[in-house]
């Protein structure tokens, strides 16, 4: 059974038609590259999956059950996690504090409930080790490299044992060495049977790490095929419109 099944999803904002009849299937342990030019509808699609807003028409099913999200926390409760483009990290807090932000562990009983620093440091340390990242739980994010920041944002998604992770341009603004680190992190997610959606403008990254590639153009899906059967040239053509459909 498919992890996530989108059927003929459309979305319009007033007169603007952002998505038209997009169907998409995600499986566990699969990395899907979502590509398209600016305004092609990538962010809209991701925001619908993430529960930021509902589709105008079409249905979403997760492991066979109908989904209706009213807010992002609904999607999170269903096992969908997002790594935002700007990572949504607080620079003044430690790596562990960022991993647990909004989901802090506490001990004691009301009204004496206190943060459980020890368990949070421990758990965050385990997550970083699992991701084979050199990030340390007590380090303040302000002093971290781009790759380490990505590790923090990705470790955050692992906290709840998610089914689907959506990543928005994770390799856009970091150095070459750090890109390799992030791609390794994505593979680690795949090993844990998570369905990953990678939104990226960087063709080499998509072809390195993805199993399947989906191309959107002007709100429509114009391609959906295994990476082995495609090529960067073809994808470029699909994105620009030089190739109508593939």
């Amino acid at each position: 059974m498919a992890r996530l099944e989108l059927s003929t999803i459309s979305k319009n904002f007033g007169a603007i038609q952002a998505l038209t009849g997009v169907s998409l299937t995600l499986h566990g342990g699969e990395v899907v590259g979502l590509m398209g030019d600016n305004g092609a509808g990538k962010s809209t699609l991701v925001k619908i999956i993430a529960g930021n807003y509902p589709p105008s028409s079409g249905t979403m099913e997760m492991s066979g059950r109908k989904l209706a999200f009213h807010k992002p926390s609904d999607a999170r409760a269903a096992g969908i996690e997002i790594v935002y483009q700007d990572l949504a990290l607080c620079n003044n807090l430690t790596a562990a504090a960022n991993v647990f932000l909004g989901r802090e562990l506490e001990r004691g009983f009301f009204p004496f409930r206190f943060l459980d620093y020890r368990t949070m440091f421990q758990r965050a340390g385990e997550l970083f080790a699992e991701l084979k990242s050199e990030t340390r739980p007590r380090d303040v994010v302000k002093r971290m490299s781009g790759g380490q920041r990505q590790a923090v944002a990705i470790a955050r998604t692992r906290l709840s044992d998610p089914k689907i992770v959506l990543m928005d341009e994770p390799t856009a603004a970091i150095s070459v060495r750090q890109v390799a680190e992030v791609l390794a992190l994505i593979r680690r997610l795949r090993e844990h049977d998570i369905a990953v959606v990678l939104i990226s403008h960087r063709m080499p990254d998509v072809f390195t790490v993805c199993d399947r590639i989906v191309v959107l153009r002007r709100g429509r899906k114009v391609s959906d095929k295994a990476i082995a059967q495609s090529s960067p040239e073809e994808v470029t053509g699909l994105i620009t419109g030089a190739i109508e459909q593939a």
């Binding site: 620079n91 003044n92 909004g102 943060l115 965050a124 340390g125």
Partner: protein, 347 residues
């Protein structure tokens, strides 16, 4: 990336590893440490320069005077950590004092007047918070407006009279603000501690624990660090903001009641300009006006330093007109010092 066959060991090592090599390095990197040093140096220098300073009577006055500012500075620090500012604290102080004073003047019991006054303070804080969090107005503007409104309401309440008759429970009120408690301290022996200082210590401990050990405190820093991120990760940003402005107003309200009890009289001029002293105390104590930084201890040390400067100028016979210059210099130097430290550590 390194291979980790000895992963169990290195995991524990990585978890235990802190940013600073040792405790000393951590302490030295804090602005509040240097401000504490400055306060201690000023304290020692004054004890030597003036034979009045280190007497119990003088220290009694110094600690009581700074307690009012320090109590509000704790609330202000919470607001500043979230990246906000509250200019209305001086006006809330007089409003709370006036509500308490006027209702007792009208014959109301102390035990009803105090909750009423604190309720008024909380209502002001709630209004500030709602306007800032839900209507999305800038904190500076909302609280500037409230500065004007709250003080004017205090004038309306009292008809701008001086109030010094506090009804049947007058003695209770005066004892609360002006009284003291004998406390036995190691090395020093028995000392008289003014009630406002006891209040300050209690509130400081509560604030210190809340900042560091509760979700509420963690969210203050998260909102100050990156409000958008806090929102995306499910921190209830709006409710947090309302609660923090209410906490700050409550601190000002408590200080107002204590101050009325100490002075034994209340005029509508009470607390004028307090907001600036309080903000100065918070900033000297290491709170960063751009948000995300500040401690309860820092607020107290900042307030203490300002009071020690004021007191020392008086004792040394320097014109009180110079006070503003000294306090102002300390604000600038404290922040300048922090800038220099950040610059050297990032190079």
């Amino acid at each position: 990336m390194t291979e980790r066959d000895d992963s169990a060991v290195s995991l524990q090592d990585s978890i235990a590893r802190s940013v600073h090599r040792n405790l000393l390095a951590w302490v030295v990197s804090r602005q509040v440490f240097w401000v504490s040093i400055a306060a201690a140096v000023a304290f020692i220098a004054l004890s030597l320069a003036s034979d009045v300073f280190a007497t119990q009577d003088n220290l009694y006055n110094v600690t009581r005077n700074f307690a009012f500012v320090a109590i509000i500075a704790l609330g202000m620090t919470a607001v500043i950590i979230t990246g906000g500012i509250d200019l209305s604290v001086g006006a809330v102080l007089v409003l709370s004092g006036m509500v308490c004073g006027m209702s007792m003047n009208g014959g109301m019991s102390f035990w009803l007047a105090v909750p009423l006054a604190l309720g008024a303070a909380l209502a002001v804080g709630a209004f500030n918070g709602v306007m800032i969090a839900y209507v999305r107005m800038p904190p500076f503007v909302v609280t500037l407006g409230m500065l004007s409104i709250a003080r004017s309401l205090a004038m309306v309440l009292s008809n701008n009279r001086m109030v010094y008759e506090f009804g049947p429970d007058q003695d209770t009120l005066l004892a609360l603000g002006g009284g003291d408690v004998g406390v036995w301290l190691p090395l020093v022996g028995s000392v008289r501690v003014p009630n406002p200082v006891l209040c300050l210590v209690t509130i400081a401990i509560l604030a210190g624990v809340a900042f560091r050990w509760t979700k509420w405190g963690r969210y203050l820093f998260a909102i100050g660090g990156n409000e958008e991120a806090a929102n995306l990760t499910g921190v209830p940003v709006k409710r947090m903001k309302v609660s923090v402005y209410m906490a700050c107003s409550l601190a000002a309200g408590i200080a107002g009641i204590l101050e009325v009890g100490w002075l034994g009289t209340i005029t509508t001029g009470l607390g004028q300009g307090t907001e600036l002293t309080v903000i100065a105390a918070a900033v000297i104590g290491g709170a960063n006006l751009s948000g995300g930084m500040g401690t309860a201890f820092g607020a107290i040390v900042g307030a203490a330093l300002i009071e020690v400067i004021r007191n020392s100028l008086t004792l040394l016979g320097i014109s009180t007109f110079w006070q503003g210059t000294f306090v102002g210099c300390f604000i600038i130097v404290a922040v300048l010092f922090d800038r220099l430290r950040i610059r050297t550590s990032s190079e």
